[in-house]
């Protein structure tokens, strides 16, 4: 194959520079072999927002005309490799430019490789990933989601580890020697070269068949034509009077059926209904109206509406009543309150397990100097 392309799906802002470094690395490596290439963002500038799934691409080719043929599409499809920089993206992505939920492997070509940074088992991730009509390979780079972002670049070598793995799964695009030479030239850091080579050696891909994966049909949305759209850039509010069940005192607000945006979420709140004092603060402060009011006056976070911002945890006055937990610990969007009502003891154990196994996840830095503290802790 003379043309090759890589799609990088990442968390907006938090991983922007990471995605850029990967795409630039692809082109630099291909250049070592006399090829030409281009690295570019799609859905990756304003209105890129914190955590929103965004994309960058790298395309390499032998000839300018081949390259142009590839670039004549807005979004390269049939990619050789799709990289997910955060394994929670495997549940699907809903960015500002896509309508509905896009499976993580949607633009991956037949027998291409999905490369994910994750500490999870491959099978667990396959259960998240939507089924695909053609087989592909899954390869993992063992790492928690790196937050090497726009504002602060936490140089944890995720960029070069992914580039080393890329040379392994897409050898037709460039050799590992070319990649290592490009990394050496670009970063002038032997340790980064070593990280890339180790990642190359460690990476193994496993095949995923058309029978494997999440069977759910992702929700979708047809864009209206200009005659159907309301004029004057008017968007009608949801009719809130139609919300709720009313009779038993519960209230479920009306929500947008086609714009759910929960793929933005990297953490979700788990609620301890036993300690909840019904103070209403989570419900009141949630910017996405994601709390359903239950018949018994509790607040159940609806996981199709929650973006995972963590405001509920921040405003809750009760210790460990609302706790944000890594999204990868969950397989579904089911109601926690329904689970609790059905089996209170079982829910208590489930809750304790989720909180106890809460992996570290950082959306950046809380205070000045935290980066240095983290580095010191990591070295210790």
């Amino acid at each position: 194959m003379s043309t090759g392309s890589v799609e990088v799906i990442y968390r907006g802002i938090y991983q922007k520079t990471l995605a850029k470094n990967i795409c630039r690395g692809v082109v630099f490596a291909a250049r070592k072999e006399g090829k030409i290439g281009i690295a570019f963002g799609r859905y990756s500038d304003s209105p890129e927002r914190n955590g929103i799934p965004a994309k960058q691409f790298a395309v390499v080719a032998d000839e300018q005309e081949e390259l142009e043929e590839y670039l004549s599409r807005y979004e390269p499809d049939n990619n050789d490799v799709t990289i997910a920089c955060d394994d929670t993206l495997c549940k699907g992505v809903e960015s500002w430019a896509w309508y509905g939920l896009q499976p993580i492997n949607k633009l991956l070509g037949e027998n291409g490789t999905l490369l994910v940074t994750s500490t999870q088992s491959p099978n667990k991730l396959i259960n998240f990933i939507h089924r695909k009509a053609s087989p592909y390979d899954l390869a993992l780079v063992r790492s928690e989601a790196s937050f090497s972002g726009l504002w602060v670049y936490k140089d944890d070598h995720t960029d070069v580890r992914l580039l080393g793995a890329l040379a392994k799964v897409a050898p037709h695009m460039f050799s590992i020697d070319s990649m290592l030479a490009a990394i050496k030239e670009q970063f002038k850091d032997d340790l980064k070269v070593t990280s890339a080579k180790k990642s190359y050696d460690d990476t193994e891909a496993q095949p995923v068949s058309t029978e494997q994966g999440n069977e759910e049909v992702p929700y979708s949305f047809e864009l209206p034509g200009w005659k159907e759209m309301e004029e004057g850039i008017v968007i009608r509010g949801m009719d809130m009077s139609k919300g709720g069940t009313g009779k038993d005192g519960s209230y479920v607000p009306v929500r947008n059926e086609v714009f759910k945006k929960f793929s933005t979420r990297t953490m979700r709140p788990v609620i301890n209904f036993e300690t909840c004092t019904k103070c209403t603060l989570c419900w009141l402060n949630c910017p996405d109206t994601c709390f359903d009011v239950t018949a018994d006056g509790l607040y159940d976070a609806n996981m199709e509406a929650c973006c995972g911002c963590g405001v509920c945890e921040a405003v809750c006055p009760v210790k460990e009543c609302v706790t944000m937990v890594n999204e990868e610990a969950f397989d579904d969007n089911d109601s926690q309150w329904a689970m609790w009502t059905k089996d209170k003891d079982g829910y208590g154990k489930w809750l304790a397990e989720k909180i106890a196994n809460q992996p570290a996840r950082s959306h950046g830095f809380h205070h000045i100097g935290q980066y240095e503290e983290d580095i010191a802790n990591d070295s210790a």
Binding site: A97, G225, W226, M229, E231, G232, I233, V234, G237
Partner: protein
Amino acid sequence: MTPPKAATAETLDGGAPVGGTEELISGSEAVAHAVRLADVDVLTAYPIRPYDTVMQYVSKLIADGEFDCEFIVAESEHSQFEIVKHASTVGARVFVGSSGVGWLYAFEALAVTAGLRVPMVAMVGNRALDDPGAFGVEHNDALAVRDLGWMLCWVATAQEALDTALIAYRVAEDPRVSLPCALSCDGAFLTHSQSIVNVPDQATVDSFLPPYDRKEKLLHPDNPITIAPQANEDWVMEIRKQSDAGMRRARDVITEAYDDFGAKFGREDEPFIERYMMEDAEIALVGMGTLAMPVKVAVRKMREQGQKVGFVRVRWFRPFPVEELQDALGGVAAVGVIDRDYGLGSAFYGGVLAGDLRTALYPLEDRPKVVSFIAGLGGREINTDNVITIAGMVSDAAEGGTTDDQDTYWIGVRE
């Protein structure tokens, strides 16, 4: 030019009742009366000459107890246009305006107004773009928004300014259109010149101009909507297409408005253009705004010499009156366009009106030559001798002389 009508109620030839009073007022004062008669709810102001004269007259109407509205003095033109944009969405009829670089200072607000389908009416007191301090008339200020969904019209007299302001509200607010409209009045020549104007009575205006009603687009707690959320490439083209459709529909709405205006006020004008001595014209001059007066005088002088010269004044520049101009100019041998604007680096380095007119006439099989003239910039006088010179060159072009229709001629510039 439409002659001023009688001072007291009477019945004109058309049988329409006409009331009102006769006043000796400037173009700006005439617009201020239109603002009063249209019962504008919110008006924003920021001083810049020559538009500021409207502010002065509206303030006086309010101070005299003749008019009541929210009169907001903004801290800049940008805010001025933003305030009325928002006021319009909550159902207020609005008036706004500016001149020259003041208008351009509001450009961000101007650019988004059409897409939002906000039917604001603005007066542009046409002014040069401020080569230090210059305040004489030039049309480049209003023309800067010519592709952005603003309806643009130019008037030649104070009477026409008053009448067209009322028509502008009716057209802009018509749900089929719902686009902003800028009424251009030549600085000094119109804004500061007083002439005798019939100021109509309120009842007649009310019978012509219905109240502003945004219906389902009203921003109100009882009608929960968002106006103008983030729009990206997946929406923008449809939004532009909607504005384009509104602009196309404006043609019929403008025609209807002029018909009804004629019936109710007794002043019958052709909607898009004014034709002067065009019936048997062999060559024609074309222009906008107050240059009509010296041109008409010159045309009469040339007619006395037996030259068959006519004049077409373009009232509505957006939507551009292609059919009317094809009809009016299709039969002449050559057209001289006198632009009180410049299009530096444009095709043949010509004026803005000349460029659009060439485009409009191009589909005609037997199209006339179009020669572009630039004159009267920065408020410089265009006198009858200039016009006679221009007409002579147009005749020369028609006869295959040395006047080149692929060149542009600056008239009245010192060599």
